[in-house]
């Protein structure tokens, strides 16, 4: 697959200034306050002076042109905006987390809209503004978008748990960006989660946008998994069709820790998910599953980097994209096995289903191995629905459109296994319904 010429290409000379006014406009709206995060914010500002908005000339952004994003002048959203109340929230809640959800409006924790009564006291949720700076920005990779998020530190949430505690109800975080009609609005969700030794949690991060304006959510979630801890992380990105979404999920895994991610996304006109994972101690396990559903002219880019840095770690990654109409999906997955990481067992697969002749996918799985005694595999496939399979369903009386929908769902089904919310598979099926 070859790279396309970006829609509005950026010349060599103005690459340095590309997006500069976009960034300046946002930075000018961030108030100067003296609190525990002031130093981190200043560092991030300094980094931003060096980091520009990337252009498709940069390898990591080769297939994703940010010109449509930087064309907007975003207003930095504050807390308490929009018509978010118990009644308007109702349709977005799930029975499995009826008493274990937290609402974050424009990146700010709204306790009065949340119900955490089903969670044990061993689990603590607090606004990041009340937290000490420790742990923040120690896991996330510094790039222009994480730095932009850090330059605005103050909202967001910190989640802490006591050692050996196993929390049963899934914790549902509803990140809602409110963009009123005619406005371009930026929210910067930030989450810091630490799981201490032998604790376990199921975390659902759910990105939504409300309103008919243009929302841009620029999210960073940092996760530290200490010895023997287990996190089942579900990420749902279902923002509106006008939205922009850039998200970094950064995970550092200690000894015997277990991280499972199920990332489901079908929202936004443009989205980019950066996954930064590191196994820093031996015998950690990472299980990544992704499902991207695109139609219309949506563009979605998943960039993952998994670093095996200690012996006897294992990882499984399966990412699937279903692309219809003129939409475009990108998957770039890197697995790095460092010299110390002997006996690593890693497997990565990217499977893509194109539903229309103009749909497009760019896939780049790659392995970089510096240890000599490891088992690593990777692969990618791009295909269409099989005529034989469609015929089988039609021969049973199932009309063509429904047959295609059932088979498309069948392609996705593997990613949805074990998902702790019964409604999520139906939401995926709805997305795949004709029309």
């Amino acid at each position: 697959m070859s790279a396309a010429v970006p829609k509005s290409s950026v010349g060599e000379s103005d690459a340095a200034s590309f997006g500069r006014s976009f960034l300046e406009h946002i930075l000018s709206q961030i108030p100067e306050v003296e609190d525990s995060h002031a130093t981190l914010r200043q560092q991030a500002r300094a980094q931003l002076a060096e980091l520009g908005i990337p252009t498709p000339r940069e390898e990591d952004w080769k297939y994703s042109d940010l010109s449509p994003l930087v064309a907007h002048a975003f207003r930095l959203a504050g807390p308490g905006e929009g018509d978010v109340n118990r009644a308007t929230l109702e349709p977005w809640l799930w029975s499995e987390s009826r008493h274990s959800y937290a609402v974050l409006v424009n990146g700010y924790f709204a306790p009065h809209l949340s119900d955490l009564s089903g969670l044990p006291s061993a689990l603590r949720l607090a606004p990041l503004s009340q937290a000490a700076s420790g742990g923040l920005q120690t896991i996330a990779k510094v790039d222009v978008f994480s730095a932009l998020n850090t330059a605005h530190l103050g909202g967001g949430i910190q989640i802490e748990l006591l050692p050996h505690e196993k929390v049963l109800p899934p914790l549902h975080l509803l990140w809602i960006t409110v963009a009123p009609e005619g406005e371009a609005v930026l929210a910067q969700p930030r989450c810091l989660l630490t799981l201490p030794a032998y604790s376990s949690l199921t975390l659902i991060e759910d990105h939504l946008s409300w309103g008919s304006g243009i929302p841009f959510s620029n999210a960073v979630t940092e996760i530290a998994l200490e010895e023997g801890s287990r996190l089942h992380h579900i990420l749902v990105q279902r923002q509106g069709s006008q939205a922009f979404h850039i998200n970094q999920t950064a995970v550092r895994q200690g000894r015997y820790s277990h991280y499972r991610l199920q990332a489901l996304q079908w929202g936004s006109q443009f989205s980019r998910h950066n996954l930064e994972l590191a196994q820093v101690e031996p015998q950690a396990h990472t299980h990544l599953q992704g499902l991207t559903l695109l139609k219309g002219s949506q563009h979605s880019d998943t960039h993952s980097r998994l670093r095996h840095q200690a012996p006897q770690g294992s990882s499984r990654q399966l990412h699937k994209c279903i692309v219809d109409e003129t939409a475009r999906a990108v998957f770039s997955g890197r697995i790095l096995v460092s010299r110390e990481a002997q006996l690593t067992d890693a497997a990565q697969t990217n499977r893509n289903l194109l539903l229309s002749p103009k749909a497009r996918v760019d896939t780049r799985p790659h392995l970089e191995i510096f240890a000599d005694n490891v088992k690593c595999t990777h692969g990618a496939t791009v295909g269409q629905l099989e005529a034989e399979e469609i015929f089988y369903l039609q021969s049973r009386g199932i009309p063509l459109a429904q047959a295609r929908q059932l088979l498309t769902y069948a392609f996705a089904a593997e990613i949805l296994e074990g998902i702790p919310v019964a409604q999520l598979p139906s939401l995926v099926a709805q997305q795949l319904a004709p029309g």
Binding site: Y392, Q394, S395, R396, G397, L400, L406, E414
Partner: protein, 257 residues
């Protein structure tokens, strides 16, 4: 069961067809009446499987001549799903796996699609559950199979039994079974044959496509046809199957070809 003046269900005249420009069928003639069981036998590559797929409307094949009348209507003008609604059923030689879709939901979707087309009431999940459990008896299938994804992880024999279950739910007027006996052990073969026998009836017709005579020990055909080189070259009663079993197919090529 051969009856005088029984209505014609399927009438095939001078049918020719090709795939990717290669002719496969070179003039097939066949008439099937209500109540009858026909077996089409023949060596590999004779066109018998192609013939069954064309009857069900497989998109890969192009009909280049002749006609097919089903209950007096032009079958070739109908989409595959319309043929199913009108009562045609093809049991596949290699049934497709559909992960994530339960057997029960799939069967109900198929059943209700046909009911809707016929302006008959659709069944809700509870009604359908009762209905399908009676049908399970026929193929001696464990009800747990209803909750499993369609054919996923099924053994060869389970897949074939699942085809007969679908047939039992859809109650076709013309059932075409493409090599349904292949890959079955003797117990599975008996179960499948029993299912077929129970689904036969005076208003229905069955077309068995098979390479071997084995299935015909359990399902007695009224007619046996031999296909060779894209044509039906010989027709007879059930004794023809036994003769083929003893003599193989090679002599046919010498005598007919």
């Amino acid at each position: 069961m051969i009856r005088e003046n029984s209505p014609v269900i399927l009438s095939v005249r001078d049918l020719t067809a090709e795939i990717d420009g290669t002719p496969i069928l070179k003039g097939v003639n066949l008439e099937v009446r209500a109540g009858e069981i026909h077996a089409i036998m023949g060596p590999n590559g004779s066109g018998k499987s192609t013939f069954s797929k064309i009857l069900a409307g497989h998109p890969d094949y192009r009909v280049t001549g002749g006609e097919i009348l089903y209950l007096g209507k032009d079958l070739l003008a109908m989409e595959p799903e319309e043929r199913a609604w009108a009562g045609i059923f093809l049991a596949f030689q290699y049934p497709i796996e559909i992960p994530g879709v339960s057997n029960l939901d799939f069967l109900r979707a198929a059943y209700n699609a046909r009911q809707k087309y016929r302006d008959q009431p659709e069944m809700d999940p509870l009604e359908f559950d009762d209905f399908v459990r009676q049908k399970l008896e026929l193929v001696k299938m464990d009800p747990a199979f209803l909750e499993r994804p369609v054919n996923e992880g099924f053994s060869g024999g389970e897949k074939k039994r699942n085809e007969i279950l679908q047939m039992a739910v859809l109650e076709p007027t013309l059932a075409i079974l493409d090599e349904t006996d292949s890959g079955l052990d003797i117990d599975a073969l008996r179960i499948v044959a029993q299912g077929i026998n129970q689904l036969a009836g005076p208003e229905k017709a069955i077309l068995l496509i098979t390479h071997y005579q084995r299935l015909l020990e359990y399902v007695t055909p009224d007619y046996v046809h031999v296909m060779e080189g894209g044509r039906i070259v010989l027709s007879g009663d059930k004794t023809l199957a036994l003769e083929l079993e003893q003599r193989g197919y090679d002599w046919l090529r010498e005598e007919v070809g």
